[in-house]
Amino acid sequence: MSSSPRFAVTGIGAVATGTISADGIWHMLNAPPAQLSQASILHPQALPFPFFSAPEASFGPDGRRHNALDTLSLARLATREALSSSGFVPGKDGMLGIAVGTTSGSALHFFDSYAALRESRTPASEEMANFFGCNPALELAKEFHAEGPTTTLSNACTSGADAIGAGLDFLRTGMCDAVLCGGADALGLVPHTGFARLMIYSDEPCRPFDARRKGLNLGEGSGMLLLESEASARRRGARIRGFIAGYGSSCDAHHFTAPHPEARGLALAVDRALAEAGVEASGIAFVNAHATATRENDRTEGKFLASRFPGKPVWASKAVTGHTLGAAGSLEAIFCLLALEQGTVPASWNFEEPDPETGLVPTLVRTPVSGGLALSTSLGFGGGNAALVLAGADHD
C-alpha cells in the first residue's frame, strides 16, 4: 500500500458523559470520573448496572426519547460540530461522504411496540417511525448534504474505528473529497440487558487492567471527525488537528464473543496499521487501549500490549467514559489527537493493582509524551479488531 498522500483531521466533534462538545473532552479526561447514572433512566425494568449517561441536553429539546432517535441525536450533535469546526462546505469544497459506526443505532429498536402488541395494546407510532427514520449515516447524509459514499457500519465495538478506516479508504480511492466519519451510540433496555446477561458488566465503577476488575460499564456518546487530504486542507487554509496515519482491520476467526487468547487478530490489525503509517512499534509515543475492564479483553489485550510495546505508556480511558460501543473507537481516536496536541497522556483512573497475568500497568499519572504518533486499539464481538495510528499536526 502507498503511504502517501496524508489524510488530515480538520474537524472534531464529540459528545460523552459530562460534555456535549469536543471542547469539554480534555477536561473530562483529566478529571476524576463522573458519577455513574442509574440504569432506571433507560427503563424501569433495567437491571441495576450503572452506566455513563450522555448529558440530557445532547438528546435535543425534548430530551431522551428511548428509541432510535437518541443515537441519531448524539451523532447529529457531534457531526454538526465536526463539520462546523472544519469549515468544509459540501459541494463548494468538494463531495462529502459519511461513515458512521453504531450498534444500538442499527439494532431492532422497537421493544415497547413489540411489548404492546404482545399485550394486545396498540403500539405508539413514534418508536417505529424513528426506527425506520433515524438511520445514522442516511439521515446525516441528507442533513449535511453528503452526496458521496454513505455507510452505517455495525461492527460491534470496532464500529467507530472502522468508520474512520472506511473514510480513509473512500478518500484514498477518490470516491469523495472529504468524509465525516466516526461513531455514535445511545443506550436502551435491550442492549443494556444483553451486556448484563453476558455477565461482563460491573455493578461498580470499572477498573481497566486492574487485577480485581469485575467487568465493564456501558457509556453513551459520539465522536466524529472531518477527514480530507492534506492537500485539500492546506488549499482551504483549514486548521489541521492531526492525521490518520494508518489503519488496520482483522477478524480473529476464533470465537464469536471471546478474543483469541494470543491476540492473533489484534496483532494483525496493529501490524497493518503500523505498516501503513511506516512506523515500527518503537516509534509509537503511547497507546490508547480498548481496555473494557472485562476479564477476557484486558487479559488478552494487556498481555499483547505489554510484550509488543514494552515501556510505552498505555492509557485506559474507559473508566472515564464507559464503553460507548459504536462510538468508542472514534472517541478514543479523538482522545489520542488531543493528547498529542497537549503532549501529555491522562492518567488511567481506577487502577490499583497490576494483574499478574498481564504485568501491564497503565498510566497512573498524567504522563508527558513526545514523538507525535499514537496507537488506538479496538476489539469487538464477532472477533473484530481495529487499530488506528494517529499523528499530531506537527508530525512529519
Binding site: A107, S154, D169, T193, A253
Partner: protein, 296 residues
C-alpha cells in the same frame, strides 16, 4: 467501461439462496407476476446443501441467518472456482455484508426472553446472536477468514453501502478478495409489529442471501460498482412489479438480486441497473451499476 465504473470490481462468482430456490430460480421468478408471489406459501431457506459444500463444518448453534449467508457464499466460491483454503491467508480476504435487519429471529427471541421472564432471565445466547454483525462474524469464524469484516446496516441501501466499502478496501490495496453480499430473514413477529404500525411493506417477505466474490477490476470481466451523486439515466429495477418485487422489493436484498440476475443473464448489457432510495422518506440515493463481460 463507462465513466460510471470508476472503482468497479470484477465479479468472479455469484451465489444466491432464498425461500424459493437459488440463483437459477431468481431468473425464473422474474417471469412470474405479483399475484403468483402473493399466493405462494413462503418457506425459510433450504440450507441442507451446506453439508455437501462444507462437509467438515459443525453448524451446531449457528443461527439460521448465518447459515443462509454461508450457503450463498459457498455457492459463490464454487462459481468462482475458489478453494475455501485460499480464504485463510491472513488478512487478504474481507467480508462485507449489507443487511437491514440482520438476524431478525434472534433479535425477536431476545425481546421475547425479556418479556417472558424479565431482564434477569433473558437469554444471553439470543443477545449475542442478535448483534448486527453476527453473519459477518460467523462467516469469518466458519471459513477461517482473518481479514476485515464489515456489516453495513442502512435499510434498502445496505448492499450498495457494503459494495462501496468493498470497492474502497480492494482498490486501496487493503485486501485482494472480497465476499460481498446482502441478506435478510423473515420473522412473523417482526412482520406483525410492522403491520400493526403501518410499516408492513418494510418487513422481509422472503428469506435470502446473495453473495459475490469480488476482486480488483480486470478488463474483460463482468463487474459491479456503486455510485453516488446525481444518478445518470437508468434502467428501471429488474425486479419491477412482478414476483421479485413482492418478495424482495423493499429490502436490502433487492439491489443485490437485481445485480445477480442481470449478471447471470447471457449478453448482459452495460448500464445502471438499480436505483433505490431510503424507505418511506424523501430519499438518499445510491445506485449500483452492473456490466457483463464484453461479448466477442
Amino acid at each position: 467501461m463507462t465513466e460510471l465504473f470508476d472503482n468497479a470490481l470484477s465479479v468472479l462468482g455469484t451465489g444466491a439462496v432464498h425461500s424459493l430456490g437459488q440463483l437459477a430460480g431468481l431468473l425464473d421468478l422474474r417471469l412470474r407476476d405479483a399475484a403468483w408471489a402473493t399466493s405462494q406459501e413462503i418457506p425459510g431457506t433450504d440450507t441442507s446443501q451446506l453439508a455437501q459444500i462444507f462437509p467438515k463444518l459443525s453448524l451446531r448453534r449457528v443461527p439460521r441467518a448465518a447459515r443462509t449467508c454461508l450457503l450463498a457464499t459457498g455457492l459463490a466460491l464454487q462459481d468462482a472456482s475458489i478453494c475455501p483454503e485460499v480464504l485463510k491467508i491472513p488478512g487478504r480476504t474481507g467480508i462485507f455484508v449489507g443487511t437491514a435487519f440482520s438476524s431478525a429471529t434472534t433479535s425477536m427471541d431476545f425481546m421475547d426472553s425479556i418479556l417472558d421472564g424479565g431482564p434477569k432471565l433473558s437469554s444471553p445466547t439470543a443477545f449475542s446472536h442478535s448483534v448486527s454483525n453476527v453473519e459477518a462474524g460467523m462467516l469469518s469464524l466458519l471459513l477461517g477468514i482473518q481479514g476485515p469484516c464489515m456489516t453495513v446496516t442502512q435499510f434498502a441501501l445496505s448492499f450498495a453501502g457494503a459494495l462501496a466499502s468493498a470497492q474502497a478496501q480492494l482498490n486501496s490495496g487493503r485486501i485482494d478478495l472480497a465476499l460481498c453480499g446482502a441478506m435478510e430473514e423473515r420473522d412473523a413477529r417482526f412482520a406483525d409489529v410492522c403491520s400493526a404500525t403501518n410499516y408492513s411493506a418494510q418487513a422481509p417477505v422472503a428469506d435470502g442471501a446473495v453473495f459475490f466474490v469480488l476482486a480488483r477490476h480486470k478488463p474483460g470481466t463482468p463487474c459491479l460498482a456503486s455510485g453516488f451523486g446525481t444518478p445518470p439515466a437508468f434502467v428501471a429495477p429488474l425486479r419491477g412489479e412482478g414476483a421479485l418485487g413482492v418478495l424482495f422489493g423493499q429490502g436490502s436484498l433487492a439491489q443485490a438480486i437485481d445485480a445477480a440476475t442481470m449478471l447471470a443473464e447471457a449478453n448482459t448489457p452495460a448500464g445502471t441497473i438499480a436505483k433505490d432510495s431510503h424507505s418511506g422518506l424523501e430519499g438518499h440515493v445510491i445506485y449500483v451499476n452492473a456490466e457483463g463481460a464484453p461479448q466477442d
